[in-house]
């Protein structure tokens, strides 16, 4: 469950990152000096790579929490009372 949630979070984070990046790129292109040197180019492989990295990060980041959740002892609940 934790791993699934982390994957979902990673996917949403990846999409949000792409939207933020494209926005920032458009903003940067408005600036005359920087915009003249660097023109952002968005290709499908790059966008897919970004989502893949976000998914991998999500799953790697969730490994320990998921392992912890799977090995919770019922006694632990008493400590949270």
């Amino acid at each position: 469950m934790i791993a699934r949630e982390a994957l979902m979070l990673g996917f949403i984070g990846g999409i949000a990152g792409i939207v933020f990046g494209v926005g920032l790129g458009a903003l940067m292109a408005q600036e005359p000096t920087l915009g003249a040197y660097l023109q952002p180019v968005y290709t499908l492989p790059v966008l897919l790579q970004a989502i893949a990295v976000a998914l991998v990060l999500g799953s790697v980041g969730a490994l320990y929490p998921a392992w912890r959740a799977a090995n919770l002892s019922p006694i632990e609940a008493l400590r949270y009372e």
Binding site: M1, I2, A3, E5, A6, L9, G10, G13, T33, A36, Y37, V53, A54, L57, G58, V60, G61, A62, Y64, P65, A66, W67, R68, A69, A70, N71, L72, S73, P74, I75, E76, A77, Y80, E81
Partner: protein
């Protein structure tokens, strides 16, 4: 040293359009590099001669770097620096993102410890929480 603008021209290359053309002698004096040239642009009359010309220049002058204009930006120190900065920022983002994700999920586990344990008591499988 003062200059008089004698004309404006456009090349379509943003890097060139942001610069100015002055005499080589003046440039050497301003940058204090007498008898030195850092960059030559050579135009071949026949496109198929470009590669042989590059090879010949590199054979005759091993210390020079010859490249097609499309690839010349790759050899610039600025683009190397930008590339290195990109990798560094990317690495930082990956480490930060990984740690952030781990923290978020750990907090999620801590907050739901009670319900997870209750579910375990009631017979819910441990692996389903992982």
């Amino acid at each position: 040293m003062s200059f008089r603008i004698v004309g404006i021209y456009e090349t379509g290359q943003s890097v060139e359009e942001m610069g100015a053309v002055i005499l080589l002698k003046d440039a050497q004096e301003i940058f204090k590099k007498p008898r030195q040239v850092t960059y030559y642009q050579i135009k071949t009359t026949r496109p198929e001669m470009t590669e042989p010309v590059i090879k010949e220049i590199e054979r005759r002058f091993p210390k020079l770097v010859a490249a097609r204009s499309a690839n010349s930006m790759d050899n610039q120190a600025a683009s190397t620096l930008l590339r290195a900065m990109g990798w560094f920022i990317g690495l930082l983002a990956v480490i930060g993102g990984g740690l952030g994700m781990m923290n978020t999920m750990l907090m999620s586990v801590y907050e739901r410890t009670k319900s997870a344990c209750c579910a375990r008591w009631a017979g819910g499988g441990g692996a389903s929480w992982g």
